[in-house]
C-alpha cells in the first residue's frame, strides 16, 4: 500500500522523528511504499542541515536523507511552517534577502496543498507528533 506520513514533532525535543523513521523502515520492509513524508509545525526542524547530534545519538536529519535516497521517498517541508520557524531553503533565502539557508538538500519546500494532494493519492495516512 501507498502510505503518506505527516510529522509534526520537533527535532531532538520529541521522539517524533525516531518513531516516524522506525515506522517508515518497517513499512518498506513489509513491502509498502512511503510516497511522501511531510514535515509540518515543529516537524520542519527535522530538515535542518545545521544540527550536530552527538555521535551516539539518533541523527534524524541524515537518517531521513538516507531513507529518502534508498527508497525514493519525497521529504517535503511546509513552506509557511518553515519560514515562521527559521527553516529556510536556498530559494527562500534569496527571495527574502536572508543571510543564509539551512535546509538539507534531501528536503524540498512546498505548500500545504502538496500534503492534501498526497493524502488524496495515498491508501493510508499516518501522523507522528
Amino acid at each position: 500500500m501507498n502510505i503518506n506520513v505527516l510529522v509534526t514533532g520537533g527535532l531532538y525535543s520529541t521522539q517524533c522523528a525516531y518513531s516516524a523513521w522506525r515506522f517508515c523502515r518497517a513499512a518498506i520492509e513489509a513491502g509498502h511504499k512511503i510516497s511522501q513524508v511531510f514535515f509540518y509545525q515543529d516537524g520542519v526542524s527535522q530538515s535542518t542541515n545545521l544540527s550536530v547530534p552527538l555521535a551516539d545519538e539518533f541523527d534524524a536529519v541524515n537518517q531521513w536523507a538516507e531513507f529518502s535516497a534508498q527508497h525514493g521517498c519525497e521529504l517535503v517541508v511546509c513552506v509557511s511552517a518553515g519560514e515562521r520557524r527559521g527553516v529556510i531553503g536556498a530559494e527562500q533565502a534569496g527571495e527574502f534577502g536572508l543571510p543564509g539557508s539551512n535546509m538539507h538538500a534531501a528536503f524540498r519546500v512546498e505548500g500545504l496543498g502538496v500534503l492534501q494532494a498526497a493524502s488524496l493519492e495515498a491508501d493510508r495516512m499516518v501522523t507522528f507528533k
Partner: protein, 100 residues
C-alpha cells in the same frame, strides 16, 4: 470502517482522553506508544480503561520498543506488545489512523 488510534501521551498527563476511551468505538484498535506506555507498569492505573475497552470490543496494543526502552514491565495480559512491523500491520488493517 475501523480506526487505529495511536496514543503517545501519558495517562498521568492526559487522563481525560483515556476517560473518553480515546473516542474509539466497537471494532477499533488502540496502540499505546511513547509516553502512553508508562502506565502499563502500574496494575491499577489502566484497569478501568482496559476493562471498558474490552467490553466495547476495542483491542489495545503497546509498542514493545517504547515499553522496554522505558524499563516498564507490562502488568496487563490483555495488552498485546508488538514491534514497528506490527504497528504497520495495524495501520493497513484499519481504514485510517487518529493520532492523539
Amino acid at each position: 470502517m475501523t480506526t487505529l488510534f495511536t496514543l503517545n501521551k501519558s495517562w498521568y498527563d492526559s487522563a481525560w482522553l483515556y476517560e473518553q476511551l480515546v473516542f474509539a468505538s466497537e471494532g477499533d484498535v488502540v496502540l499505546l506508544m511513547e509516553d502512553a506506555v508508562l502506565a502499563l507498569g502500574s496494575p491499577i492505573t489502566l484497569a478501568s480503561f482496559l476493562a471498558k475497552c474490552s467490553s466495547a470490543n476495542i483491542a489495545v496494543y503497546a509498542l514493545i520498543d517504547d515499553v522496554s526502552t522505558r524499563g516498564i514491565s507490562n502488568q496487563y495480559p490483555s495488552v498485546n506488545l508488538l514491534g514497528y512491523n506490527g504497528f504497520v500491520d495495524l495501520l493497513i488493517e484499519a481504514d485510517k489512523q487518529v493520532a492523539w
